[in-house]
Amino acid sequence: MTDITVTPEAASGDHADDGHAHPTDALFVRTAVILAIITAFEVGWSYLPWWDGAHGLRSFIEISGLLIMMMAKFIIVANVFMHLKFDKPLLSWAFYFGFVLAVIVYMAVLTTFEIWSSGPPGFAP
């Protein structure tokens, strides 16, 4: 028989508090309401007549607004529903590293294909 001394937290293998309180069901419901409101804003934003035929700065504002709302929803779901906010920081590092790596890699790919160019599509397929 082997005796190994470990902490109770390590023995449970989970539920690391790290000074954070455990989330409650009420928090989850409030989070879902916030997500629904952001989604409604997102859809409403895309329907604004100001964007009809938008180019240049107007198009940039339209797309930036949508991407900001998208990222807000992404982070809220990851942090609250997926418990990243309440869990060990290592998990946040593991997930966001993969996410940021994917964004960098595919931004480089899209740049290679001259996707940002407003002129003829260069190497774009």
């Binding site: 028989m1 082997t2 005796d3 190994i4 001394t5 470990v6 902490t7 109770p8 390590a10 023995a11 449970s12 293998g13 989970d14 690391a16 989330p23 069901d25 989850f28 419901v29 989070t31 879902a32 997500l35 629904a36 989604t39 997102e42 859809v43 895309s46 329907y47 964007w51 339209e62 797309i63 949508l66 991407l67 709302m69 998208m70 929803k73 992404f74 779901v77 990851a78 529903f81 997926m82 418990h83 869990d87 060990k88 290592l90 998990l91 593991a94 997930f95 590293f97 993969g98 996410f99 790596l101 994917a102 964004v103 890699v105 595919y106 790919v109 899209l110 996707i115 774009a124 397929p125």
Partner: protein
């Protein structure tokens, strides 16, 4: 695992280390493995989303002599917004299922798992309907043009992930009736939840980039 008995720092021994082996990180291997898997899935969906962005304007007329329609002309944003809302709410029911598992409330756990699977099925039904509308009625099939191929590949891959999630949810639900999932291994429900929330966050990105950005 060996028949080792572990002595935790408060002096008690732990008999069930088969289920929760100690790790140097304090995180179980299963949970860390799921997170690393999800991080790798970011790269998969990143590739599919990038392909869609590259091909989104490569459209062709639906019939000879007609002008080429952009994908957005075929989309029904109100319908897809409703589907998105359904998937978003399934994330709420999933997290409530995890919470019930941690409390050991089996009746509530089963209810929320069933609700999550049902909402996922509604989302998939909506996607089937949308695919049918585009391909059979409007004439924009998978091979119609590069833009539509990229659209079906991206949303189809996501739909496949949701379908796998529904199967996992139903299996988990079945295991609760056999006593193999419950408070004693609530982390199993949490890991299923991580996968389910991931398909939700992927849809958050897909919905904005494919449907809302023109």
């Amino acid at each position: 695992m060996s028949d080792a008995t572990y002595v935790v720092s408060d002096g008690h021994t732990v008999d069930h280390m088969d289920e929760h082996p100690p790790t140097s990180t304090g995180i179980s291997n299963e949970k860390l493995g799921m997170w690393v898997f999800l991080a790798s899935e970011c790269l998969l969906f990143g590739g599919l989303i990038s392909t869609f962005v590259l091909y989104r304007n490569k459209v062709l007329p639906s019939a000879p002599g007609e002008t080429a329609e952009h994908l957005h002309d075929a989309f029904d944003i109100a319908f897809t917004s409703t589907s998105s809302f359904v998937l978003l709410m399934s994330s709420l029911s999933m997290v409530l299922a995890v919470s019930a598992a941690q409390r050991g409330d089996m009746r509530i756990l089963r209810s929320w798992l069933a609700v999550t699977a049902l909402l996922g099925t509604v989302f998939i039904a909506g996607q089937f309907y949308e695919f049918y509308e585009f391909s059979a009625i409007e004439g924009f099939g998978f091979t119609h043009s590069p833009a539509w191929s990229a659209f079906y590949t991206l949303t189809g891959f996501h739909g496949a992930h949701v379908t796998i999630g529904i199967v996992i949810l139903l299996v988990t639900l079945g295991l609760t009736f056999r006593g193999r999932v419950g408070q004693h291994n609530a982390e199993a429900v949490e890991i299923v939840g991580l996968y389910w929330h991931f398909v939700d966050v992927v849809w958050i990105v897909v919905f904005t980039i494919v449907y809302l950005i023109k």
